[in-house]
């Protein structure tokens, strides 16, 4: 069919089928491509030459009609169920009778977890190489946060678990909650935005990022690169409690502390009030007891010093005495008496020791000193 307008004067007007034909021809020039989506409303009937299904984007909910020749579809032996994710290869076409766009599939491939896991693994390696998960990046949690940020989904369970745990353990806690979609297309952007907003509030000293359990795909936003980076660059420490114990979304690795459950996260961010009070009262009692002990210690020190002071003079005399004795001993060892003991004598004249025979004259009186005594003598 040719696409010919009807002319009314200088106005070109197309019939509906002519318009559709024109669009269909234009669409026919587009190259074949792959489209990803979720299978819904799959209709196959042996009376029909074609299989119909609707391809749905799980995040936005946008849909696209897809048709495929039944013999081709059957040859794939996919046994697809509604809800399964697939890659469809084909090209756009127009259902001309209704002017509706559809997608003519040449082949369909099941898009399983494998592809997700591989993509996740690549991202994990990349971020790890950047050091985002490094242990030295982890910050300690504050002992007593002035305010606690809670980024959570609107679903009640995880949020309620955190609130209950925190307020039971530490009733004076102040918590600011930012709810955000935690699954679907807007989740990642929402989580990032909530993290940024909450961490920017005054006095928020720690943030809990939490979400209850869910399917692998439900938790995917928590492995989104933007979310992981937002957690890593958050100006205050982040406790991540996402999914169940066995789930480890990438945001868990980037967080400062990973909690296995929302309840565990709640326990991590506040101390037990009763324990805090007990510790405080103990410390206060310690001040008094310590002051007393200090006084006692100082007093004992003083008594000891005084004691030593009293004993000091006697001790000093004793020491001096001992020293004198020692000196005397040395003196004795040096004295001429020892020499006299060996048979020598000292001769004095006019009270001076005689060193030369010329120093005395005949008839002069001298004194002779021996080891055991002395006597007088006259020079001949």
């Amino acid at each position: 069919m040719k696409v010919e307008p009807i002319l009314y004067g200088d106005r070109k007007v197309y019939t509906v089928p002519a318009f559709s034909r024109g669009v269909a021809m234009w669409l026919g020039r587009l190259p074949p491509i792959w489209i990803e989506g979720e299978v819904t409303e799959l209709r196959r009937n042996t009376a029909w030459a074609r299989v119909f299904l609707t391809l749905k984007d799980p995040e936005s909910g946008a849909t696209l009609r897809v048709t495929m020749r039944r013999d081709r579809f059957d040859a794939l032996e996919l046994e697809l169920e509604d809800g399964e994710r697939v890659h469809v290869h084909g090209r756009a076409e127009l259902y001309e009778a209704r002017g509706e766009l559809s997608f003519r599939a040449h082949t369909i491939e099941r898009f399983g977890l494998g592809a997700h896991l591989a993509a996740l693994e690549r991202l994990k390696k990349k971020l790890a190489a950047e050091g985002l998960f490094a242990p030295e990046r982890k910050r300690p949690l504050p002992f007593l946060p002035r305010r606690i940020g809670l980024v959570t989904g609107t679903e009640a369970a995880a949020k309620q678990d955190v609130l209950t745990t925190v307020t039971t353990r530490f009733p004076p806690a102040r918590i600011v909650v930012a709810e955000t979609p935690v699954q679907g297309a807007r989740a990642a952007a929402g989580i990032v935005e909530a993290l940024v907003r909450v961490s920017g509030l005054p006095e928020v000293d720690v943030i809990i990022l939490t979400r209850g359990g869910g399917s692998f795909e439900d938790l995917l936003p928590f492995s989104d690169e933007t979310v992981v980076r937002a957690v890593a660059s958050c100006p205050v420490p982040v406790v991540s409690a996402v999914g169940h114990e066995q789930d480890v979304p990438l945001c868990d690795l980037a967080a400062d502390v990973r909690a296995s459950t929302p309840t565990a996260a709640g326990r991590l961010v506040v101390p037990d009030l009763a324990e805090v009070l007990q510790r405080l009262e103990r410390a206060r009692a310690g001040v008094e007891r310590g002051a007393r002990r200090t006084l006692e210690t100082q007093e004992q020190r003083l008594v000891r010093a005084h004691d030593r002071l009293r004993r000091a003079p006697a001790l000093a005399v004793e020491r001096k005495h001992a020293r004198l004795e020692a000196t005397a001993g040395r003196l004795r060892a040096l004295s001429p008496r020892a020499t006299l003991g060996r048979g020598y004598a000292i001769v004095r004249a006019r009270d001076a020791i005689l060193r030369s025979a010329a120093a005395v004259s005949t008839g002069e009186r001298v004194e002779v000193e021996l080891a055991d005594g002395g006597f007088g003598a006259v020079v001949e």
Partner: protein, 65 residues
């Protein structure tokens, strides 16, 4: 007490350090009164922080889409 910047944790640590010092009998006699006074101040500061804090849960308004 005018320690605006003091956190609960810092106050508690200082208090416990004072207790330690006193219990070891290491404090100077001249410091004794000052230390005891400081200890009592820190205790009151911590106590007030706990008593003054009234538990509060705020819901942050959703951003405009």
């Amino acid at each position: 007490m005018s320690d605006e910047a003091l956190t609960f944790e810092a106050a508690q640590k200082e208090l416990e350090a004072i207790v330690d010092k006193l219990e070891r009998g290491e404090a100077e006699l001249e410091q004794l009164t000052a230390l005891s006074q400081r200890g009592e101040e820190l205790y009151r500061f911590c106590r007030e922080k706990l008593d003054a804090a009234h538990g509060k849960i705020e819901e942050l308004a959703k951003p405009e889409a």
